[in-house]
């Protein structure tokens, strides 16, 4: 799935354009960084309410495709700048995390790659 399709399904604004070649292969939702660090995968779309710089570090170490912020959350400019540098897309959706996961799952984005 492309990042653009994720954005369309999520009715999201793209706050940072990531690496467009990066396919979105799986999804995950969690706000505990160590939890995500233990389970992150390449190409993951990560739904979280955390918006600080360390989110990008975790996403980058796992070569995730995008960070998806629910409930219309925004990210500071410096964090978005870092995301662009690391090739991580950041999307902001007006929908809840619960709704986002449901929509993405329903459209074929599952919790494990493949």
């Amino acid at each position: 799935m492309t990042i653009e399709l994720v954005a369309r399904l999520a009715q999201a604004n793209i706050l940072a354009h990531g690496d467009h070649a990066r396919d979105v292969t799986c999804g995950y939702a969690c706000d505990l960084l160590s939890w995500v660090m233990a389970r992150g995968q390449k190409g993951m779309a990560w739904v979280t309410v955390q918006t600080h710089l360390n989110v990008i570090a975790v996403a980058s170490l796992h070569e995730m495709a995008c960070v998806l912020l629910p409930d219309g959350l925004e990210m500071e400019g410096a964090v978005l700048e870092k995301a662009r540098e690391e090739g991580i897309a950041v999307l902001s959706s007006p929908l809840s995390a619960y709704r986002l996961c449901g929509l993405l799952y329903q459209n074929g984005l599952h919790d494990l790659p493949g």
Partner: protein
Amino acid sequence: MPHDVYLVDQGDYANAGSVSAHIKKRLLALGIDKALVRRVAIASFEAEMNLVIHSFGGKMELDVTDAAITLEAYDKGPGISNVELAKMEGFSTADEEVRSRGFGAGMGLPNIARVSDHFVLASRPGVGTLMVITFTLHPEHKEENKA
């Protein structure tokens, strides 16, 4: 063989993760298998965050030989009074602010133990903490040896 030393400052959230990113790039450049690099990156990130969150500042060292990848993290204190308790999943001394950032869930040390082949943690209150995290290198961990 590579031997890198990195400084990690207390409370430096802005740069937290950069040492781990560097270590990951270094190992990939050495042709180490991606799945193993992922495990090292997880351990490295947890060790780095521990230095940022809990220590007065410290260092991390990466050593790569034909037999193993070794990650050392050591700091200038404050030390851990009960190491066994600290290693238990869910135990954390992190404050509310750290927790609100999604850290301090008491998962860092268990994560390191889970992804590594050997993990030693020694600490003395008032002195500091030392972690030695080892990953055994088998020939198949080198991309060049893959079929």
